[in-house]
């Protein structure tokens, strides 16, 4: 219960601040600049989502339903960009094309003075699209695989053409998955800080950060944050609605049969080209750029102590967050699954608050909290870990609850009828059964926390540099060489929990 209330605390505090100075807050919100900001953010969100759909749906179809050569390889490659944080992607593109960038170095001898910059809307759009489309790809793929092939066969038997079947049978069934995936992408874009700040595109999150950092205009920052949260809540509400509808489209269990494979024929060359282009842009270029800059910095001098310190700090903060989130998730999962009731429902709802909050909003709320209520906590490691727990508890809780739901109450009752007390049953039966799920949740929290940028930027103790802040710091001042090694280390460190997570499936 304590955990749940604590998780909801930042939001409550934010509302309190904004309400406490409603006049100033309203003034901020009604300013013309704010309207422009809303319009820009929405434009970016819509553009990214639309492009991501255009990339993800064909990719999903190629890799699930056609005889595309190397389907397995493309399946893995297409999902991989998900592990690249948006700010590393932005760093890679900017450092490749920007002033003093990789391309610039290459074309300099040819007498080309300066390349057109990709910063601004274009850069933000490109980066966010390339690193968020997997959020759409995964649900669409899953949905395609679940489709009942008999429906399509029935339509074919009724004399419809292949294309007609795709249009009238397949697409309508994919709509819920596309909707759910789009909303995930939209939520990501709205709450993203790394890519937009590196690409110098003014969005909600960067404006909040600037207001907070430059002028310490806390009411202004809080008001914008509240507006952003409101926008995200609308999206979440939409997401919940599509998810409810999704159930209608699911085919009966047991109907999973071999999929009909579409023979691409001559079309497989354009299809391969498409997959290749996406993989090149979203995976090959960023990794190549990182490697290039790393080699450059090896040739020069790498500040190894700084890299080591940042790595240690990242591991420490994310490790603590993962442990704390897992420890908090277990009692909540047990409570909400086994002892359902109004109390448990309330605890569960509160625990999921973090899901609706961008990192920067939680960080901001905690700054207020730390400077006004619990003075000692401001800019302490504990505060940072707490912010991570608030943000990522839903991830750990989701998996812990899912594994708790798989434990039959009969099994626990059987143990009790054998003379074990409730506590002993929890220890000897329930705990071993949910342990894999809890561990997976911890791994997921670790993976997400180590990438988190804005909360780390705002809440980390002074001098506490992590890999994420190193990369961001280096990029925002144009020292591309300095960011490469931390970025590679971050990707390498993330690979371990990611492997643990996927090996489980």
């Amino acid at each position: 219960m304590l955990v749940a209330v604590a998780a909801a605390l930042p939001l409550a505090y934010l509302v309190l601040i904004v309400a406490g100075s409603a006049d100033t807050a309203l003034e901020t919100i009604w300013r013309e600049r704010t309207a422009v900001l809303v319009a820009r953010s929405i434009a970016l969100t819509v553009a990214v989502t639309a492009t991501a759909i255009a990339i993800a749906v064909p990719l999903a179809w190629f890799t699930v339903r056609t005889d595309l050569p190397g389907r397995r390889l493309w399946t893995v490659l297409a999902a991989l960009p998900l592990v690249i944080p948006s700010y590393i992607g932005a760093y890679a593109f900017l450092s490749a094309t920007g002033p003093q960038g990789l391309l610039q170095d290459l074309v300099q001898p040819l007498g080309i003075g300066s390349l057109p910059s990709i910063t601004g809307f274009f850069g933000a759009w490109l980066t966010l699209t390339l690193f968020t489309y997997p959020l759409l790809l995964l649900p669409v793929r899953a949905s395609l695989r679940r489709l009942d092939p008999e429906l399509e066969e029935a339509a074919l038997a009724m004399g419809r053409s292949q294309a007609g079947v795709f249009r009238t049978i397949v697409v309508p069934q994919l709509v819920p998955a596309i909707g759910a995936g789009s909303l995930l992408v939209a939520l990501y874009v709205l709450s993203d800080f790394g890519a937009v700040s590196i690409m110098r595109f003014d969005s909600f999150t960067t404006s909040i950060y600037t207001l907070y950092k430059a002028s310490f205009d806390r009411i202004g920052a809080a008001s914008l944050a509240a507006l952003l949260v409101a926008l995200m809540l609308v999206l979440l509400w939409l997401e919940a609605r599509t998810r409810r509808r999704e159930a209608l489209y699911r085919s009966a269990p047991g109907s999973a049969r071999t999929m009909r494979q579409v023979n691409l024929g001559r079309w497989r060359w354009p299809a391969l080209g498409f997959c290749g282009a996406v993989a090149t842009l979203a995976l090959l270029i960023p990794v190549a750029v990182l490697v290039y800059w790393s080699l450059q910095s090896f040739a020069g001098s790498v500040d190894w102590p700084a890299v080591a310190a940042a790595t240690g700090n990242s591991l420490l903060a994310s490790g603590l967050a993962a442990t704390a989130a897992a420890l908090c998730a277990v009692p909540i999962a047990v409570l909400t699954v086994r002892f359902r009731g109004p109390f448990a429902m309330a605890v569960e709802r509160l625990s999921y608050t973090g899901h609706a909050l961008p990192g920067i909003v939680v960080a901001l709320a905690l700054v207020f909290f730390g400077t006004r209520v619990v003075i000692g906590l401001y800019q302490s490691l504990a505060m940072l870990v707490f912010a991570f727990v608030v943000l990522f508890l839903p991830l750990a809780l989701g998996i812990a609850r899912a594994s708790m739901l798989q434990v039959s109450p009969r099994v626990e009752e059987a143990a009790r009828s054998m003379g074990r007390s409730q506590w002993s049953v929890l220890r000897t039966v329930t705990a071993p059964l949910i342990a894999p799920g809890v561990l997976a949740g911890a791994a997921l929290v670790f993976l997400t926390a180590i990438k988190e940028l804005p909360a780390t930027l705002i809440l980390a103790p002074i001098g506490f540099e992590t890999l994420a802040t190193e990369i961001w710091g280096a990029t925002s001042v144009g020292f591309f060489e300095r960011g490469a090694v931390p970025a590679l280390v971050l990707l390498a460190v993330s690979a371990v929990p990611l492997y643990l997570l996927t090996a489980r499936e």
Binding site: S408, E413, A414, A415, S417, M418, G419, R420, L433
Partner: protein
């Protein structure tokens, strides 16, 4: 070998009264069935006895020890009652022997584990993971696990419902043998009449949260306490009759009944107790065959009596009867006589 006694047990979930005034007495060492249609509260009754649910009212006593009653509630882990669940509820993180050892508690004697596994015929399978076992083997592990701590009473919830028909038949016999050898009082829940009648020594027929009749399989089948029990346990014909001076007469004959039963009555006859022949005893009624269904080993012959009432007679498959045959029909076998009343409650017995 402990006796079980439940009196006035009640349990409601919200407005649904799952168990209501449930009363049951079993002698120690009995193998008893709790039989009823789905939704009658059988499983809830079982869970109340096991202590997995807390009763709203009533008492549970096992071997003279009160486990639940006004001001008393013994936790399930202190009841010494073994439970075999419908889906077996085996611990997926332990192997076969581990499941049994868990029931014996810390420092379980490996010899005892082996002994119990041998009792259920799984002596060689101790090291196997439970998910590798067949349904029948899982069932026996669950039974071994429940029997291991030598409980006073063992409860089985629909123990055979997850098995296919052939295996079910065989396992019923086996399980009955195992329980008998373990010498424990057992109560199993089932909705399958044949299952209850064939393996139990005592059958409690349950309806709407209470026990409607308790008796041996023969008693509940041939002397049902109500028309509902009669109909639930098998096909039944109801023939109107008249009782007077310790005898009852109806269209299919007359027989002695307990004195005290007077006036209009219903005579309950199972089709296999309706005999037919070309010529019959004096008390037989004349009837006409109007239909016949042939099942191989037997046939069900539909008769219209002189009064116009239609009754069925189950006969061996040979000789064949045909619609239009004029026959004599009479009762040859057990019958049950209940006062004719619209309500079934409080129905008397012959």
């Amino acid at each position: 070998m402990s006796s079980l006694s439940c009196t006035g047990l009640a349990k409601a979930f919200g407005v649904v009264r799952a168990v209501d005034d449930f009363t049951l007495e079993l002698e120690g060492g009995t193998i008893a069935a709790l039989l009823g249609p789905s939704g009658c509260g059988k499983t809830t009754a079982l869970r109340l006895i096991a202590g997995l649910e807390r009763p709203d009212a009533g008492t549970v006593t096992v071997g003279g020890r009160e486990l639940a009653g006004p001001g008393t509630f013994v936790a399930p882990e202190r009841r010494r009652i073994g439970v075999v669940f419908q889906d077996y509820a085996l611990f997926p993180h332990h192997d076969v022997a581990g499941n049994v050892a868990y029931a014996l508690g810390r420092g379980a004697d490996p010899a005892r584990v082996r002994e119990v596994l041998e009792l259920v015929g799984l002596g060689e399978h101790g090291a196997r993971p439970v998910h590798e076992l067949s349904g029948g083997q899982q069932q026996r592990v669950a039974l071994a696990r429940a029997l291991a701590p030598t409980p006073e009473l063992i409860l089985l919830d629909e123990p055979f419902s997850n098995l296919d028909a052939g295996l079910r038949e065989r396992l019923r016999e086996e399980v009955r043998e195992i329980i008998r050898r373990a010498g424990v009082t057992a109560l199993f829940v089932t909705h399958d009449q044949a299952e209850a009648l064939s393996i139990a020594e005592t059958v409690a027929v349950m309806r709407d949260g209470r026990v409607e009749q308790l008796g041996t399989p023969e008693e509940v089948y041939s002397r049902p306490a109500s028309r509902w029990v009669a109909g639930f346990l098998g096909e039944i014909e109801v023939v109107p009759g008249e009782a007077a001076d310790g005898r009852v007469g109806c269209e299919l004959g007359s027989f002695a009944v307990e004195p005290g039963l007077e006036g209009p009555v219903d005579v309950l006859v199972r089709p296999e107790s309706v005999a037919i022949a070309i010529s019959g005893p004096e008390r037989a009624a004349s009837a006409e065959v109007i239909g016949r269904k042939f099942y191989g080993h037997d046939q069900l012959v539909e008769l219209r009596l002189a009064s116009g009432q239609v009754v069925r007679s189950r006969r061996l498959g040979f000789p064949a009867w045909h619609p239009g045959d004029r026959v004599r029909a009479w009762v040859d076998g057990p019958t049950d006589v209940l006062p004719r009343a619209p309500a079934e409650a409080g129905a008397g017995r012959q």
